[in-house]
Symmetry: none
Subunit: 197 residues, 4 copies
DNA sequence: AATGAATGAGGCTTCATTCAT
DNA sequence: GATGAATGAAGCCTCATTCAT
């Protein structure tokens, strides 16, 4: 048992961050498979290869774990868009297209997890949506200011909400992902009144 | 105990429909307040002023009660649109506007219940969405065929899904309902490529 | 509605005895089919074509109904043996044979009901067994006194108990009933030390 | 709280086997006292000095607990007879005598539990009886083959069933156990037609 | 830090019994 | 006498959380 031994098997002692990630990962997997409600602490512990009690060393409660899961999903969804949104090299419409594409693809790849985590909790924590709302808001406002978009009389907030919820829809269908992305980019452009190229 | 007393207090014997409605109503209220998952039979019974066992005289199981709740919400949402969608006196764009207005207003009024009932169950029963999808599909296809709409390259299915999910978004904000409705009608028109008047 | 109308259909008003028999009959049928524990008042009422509450006009409680069921089964089992046991025209061994045959055949025909009613309750009410015990006791004692049987050192009580429980065994096998009866008569004869013919 | 304190009080943590035995023991006691049907998980928990939920750490369900109870009773009844039945040093009649004595004595000592556990369930699980049947079958067949027994025309199966059920009878009476055992040995010998010594 | 036996509140459901009609 | 809606105690089981080891 050399101190430099590296991680094969279930090494019993792990740095807290690693353990935390293990647990979160197990929870994500189970939420994807069984749904969030059906994901019990016991199952998470078993899947993570950890004792039930140990989970409480890393998360204050089940709710805390769920929140962390949400935060993780959300972080992954926002990381790239955050960069794109402020990339001055791109036209606003290009940024919008890129964000749409990223979200669509993410949701396509993590469909079940995404819905397990968000649709199932919905009401409780509005917070995570804030950043996405803000980001879309910036894109729309920026595009309008630059003369690329034209919302007419339509309130920006309404447009943002509309897009935010609308994008989730088409992911339900198992169509060709690239086609769907193209379609969605068109719909987003239409919604914000993007000038034809 | 005057023989003419009418309806105050919990008269013990009620016609089945009345009791059923009482229970459903209590369940709706609790789902709105606490969320669907947190709505237990015990709480429904207490709220309805009925014994726990009595609920099972009207619903086979908790799931059955939830289904009935869904069905009720859904029936109320679809009743009017069903009529509008086939009203040949109206332009397709008028029908679209009317359906949007109806849904928006309904959701505005029953916001929390709507989301408690649908978003919380999401995955399980896709069925209720079928009719809404079909109805929107007819509107879009009809409008296109009549030359009122133009979806361009965008797949009809994608448009429908986009609208179906998108409309739920703006209801979150407590803006002036009529303004929001007007905005949403514009967004729906844009999405289907409705010809400017 | 002439007062002489006779019983086709579910005549609503029935003399108490008739109703009582209807209910008992329904209970017997259900006990046979589903077992005694699974036979609820609700099912009995439904099967008997009577309201749940009406059962309580004829039986004080579920236990009372079960007791009545037992009594009914038991009465049918004892009726004939009661006569046989005192028939001075028969040898004691002939009476023993006849009683065995009767019981075997009864149990063969009503197997499920018999076991549902007796084995399932066993402990509670020893009472019904009394008469059967007494009857067998008379037969054995009579046969011994007449010099037909010889129990040797074996206590009469023990013999009686042995026979009383033993006869139930072979009914479980779906062998040819007449063969089994013949076998059982031999075993009973051997047990009481009947002299060879 | 002396560190050497041993076993008084309900030490909270117990090795699984100990807890399991505690629970089984409580269940046995209650089944004896109140009957098997009336033995609820809640009562078992209370009697065992354990939380309701804890029972499910050791038994998958109430049925599982009942099965374990049956298995325990049955194992105790069969252990010795299994050895006796194949002891070539004994005559067949001696083996038969020994098995009878063992069963009688066991039943005498655990009368109520035995009946609570077996008669109450009867129909459902025929399985436990198989081994007893087989064992008696071997004894009878062995004795016949060795010329010690003579069943005449009587089918072996019938004899076995007769004995299997018959032995339970005499235990009901609180006679002198040794006398009853002697009587029963005589009755078993007579049933299988054992040659007089 | 890690464990997992133990807890107990709370969930769903059944059913014998009552009683206003 | 007959009904059946209503009751509520009681049953089985789950699971987030705690805590002695």
């Amino acid at each position: 048992m050399p101190s430099t031994a590296e991680g094969s098997g279930n090494t019993r002692y792990q740095p807290p961050e690693v353990r935390r990630r293990q647990i979160l990962s197990a929870a994500a997997q189970l939420a994807t498979t069984d749904g969030l409600e059906a994901t019990s602490i016991a199952k998470v512990a078993e899947t993570a290869g950890v004792a039930k009690g140990s989970i409480y060393l890393h998360f204050a409660s089940r709710d805390d774990l769920v929140d962390a899961l949400q935060a993780q999903v959300w972080a992954q969804m926002m990381e790239t868009p955050r960069v794109i949104a402020v990339d001055a090299n791109l036209l606003w419409v290009e940024r919008l297209d890129a964000v749409v594409a990223h979200w669509m693809r993410y949701e396509f790849d993590h469909h079940d997890l995404y819905h397990a985590v968000f649709h199932a909790v919905a009401t409780d924590s509005e917070e995570p949506w804030h950043e996405a709302r803000a980001l879309l808001g910036q894109l729309v406002a920026g595009g309008v200011a630059a003369g690329e978009f034209d919302c007419g009389q339509i309130g920006t907030e309404t447009v943002v909400e509309f897009l935010l919820h609308g994008y989730a829809g088409p992911c339900y269908h198992h169509a060709e992902i690239d086609t769907v992305i193209g379609d969605m980019q068109q719909l987003f452009r239409r919604s914000v009144g993007a000038r034809p190229a």
